[in-house]
């Protein structure tokens, strides 16, 4: 990749890391509160269904994961496996798409 593309990839990973730090904290805090209050799965779904706020939050979470994880794995593949270039980039894009599709599918299941 060009210097510009590499820099953009680096920026995307840092930005997605910042979003993930926030999303993971909110997600874990929500889990702990839900468990402590003894909410059932049905009760949780009752609160998330139709909620634009939760849908927006988890879509943001999924997009951040789909950007962050492939870029990190791309670096690990290059440094530990010496796997770099177009095939590695292609595999990382494919992984990002898979994560995005599976994640959005899960978000729609609990919010729509």
């Amino acid at each position: 990749m060009s210097a510009r593309a590499e820099t953009l990839a680096w920026l995307a990973q840092r930005a997605s890391a910042a979003i993930l730090a926030l999303c993971v904290t909110v997600h874990l805090a929500t889990l702990i509160v839900a468990v402590h209050e003894g909410l059932s799965a049905a009760a949780i779904l009752g609160r998330t269904h139709g909620s634009v706020t939760w849908a927006a939050f988890y879509v943001l979470f999924v997009v951040a994961v789909s950007v962050h994880a492939p870029l990190g794995l791309r670096t690990i593949a290059a440094e530990w496996l010496s796997w770099k270039g177009r095939t590695a980039d292609g595999a990382c894009v494919a992984l990002g798409i898979v994560l995005l599709v599976l994640g959005i599918r899960a978000v729609t299941a609990v919010t729509l």
Binding site: M1, A3, R4, E6, T7, A9, L11, A78, E79, W80
Partner: protein, 241 residues
């Protein structure tokens, strides 16, 4: 009856990459440096031992070796500070090809300075006036904080990323690029930023900070690399890269 002579047990790397350690016993003396030990072996025990040194006062950067597993400038490293149980293990610097014994080939190290556009590109001519740079300006203070590199390659030998990614320019070359990036007299900012961006440049740094930890002149290449990351990112967003 004189007190028995105290001895230092020293293992020294001999040969090329396929070589091994050889043991020597060297009289222990007060205020003895690791370079003194190597010199004693070369002059009194085995004249074929190859090693480099020049100034012996921490200015030239030629005597760096791996001492008990850690890269150090040997002329300013006292045995008392690094010997464990009167034992020393001295090896060539890591991440560079071994020429023989304690001598490494520095070609790649300095080639990377060139690849990082580490040469000053003047914008003025000899007919112009002197550039006036305020010593307390932000850019000059950033340069001053990073300029005193002696090119010893200790940071390069300490860097994990180079071991994983041999194309990585390394802390010293990137530190040099950073000083030029902040030099208001330099005219190759855009080319230099393009040279230091990417997976062989500043973005490959994992911020392990070993370069800063080991730098004998107490520079912080980590900080310089962070500056390059920031500057290249801003240049990319502005469409300059």
């Amino acid at each position: 009856m004189p007190a028995p002579e105290k001895l230092l047990h020293v293992s020294v790397w001999r040969g090329t990459a396929a070589g091994g350690f050889r043991s020597y016993q060297v009289p222990r003396q007060d205020a003895q440096t690791v370079l003194d030990v190597v010199t004693w072996i070369q002059r009194r025990i085995d004249a074929s031992l190859a090693y480099r040194f020049a100034c012996r006062v921490g200015m030239c950067g030629s005597c760096a070796m791996t001492v008990n597993g850690i890269p150090r400038w040997t002329c300013r490293t006292h045995v008392a500070r690094v010997a464990t149980g009167e034992r020393l293990q001295i090896a060539p610097l890591a991440n560079l090809p071994i020429v023989r014994d304690l001598v490494v080939d520095m070609t790649e190290f300095f080639d990377k300075w060139a690849r990082a556009k580490g040469g000053f590109v003047p914008t003025a001519t000899r007919r112009g006036d002197f550039a006036r740079v305020r010593p307390d300006s932000t850019s000059r203070r950033a340069v001053d904080a990073a300029i005193e590199c002696i090119g010893c390659a200790v940071c390069y030998a300490a860097c994990d990323v180079i071991a994983w990614n041999p194309a990585y320019l390394g802390p010293a070359a990137l530190n040099r690029a950073w000083t030029l990036t902040r030099d208001v007299r330099d005219g190759a900012r855009r080319e230099r930023l393009a040279a230091v961006a990417g997976d062989a440049g500043c973005h490959a740094c994992h911020t392990h900070t070993l370069c800063s930890e080991r730098c004998p002149t107490r520079l912080s290449p980590t900080l310089s690399i962070a500056g390059l990351k920031r500057t290249t990112a801003l240049a990319t967003l502005r469409g300059e890269l």
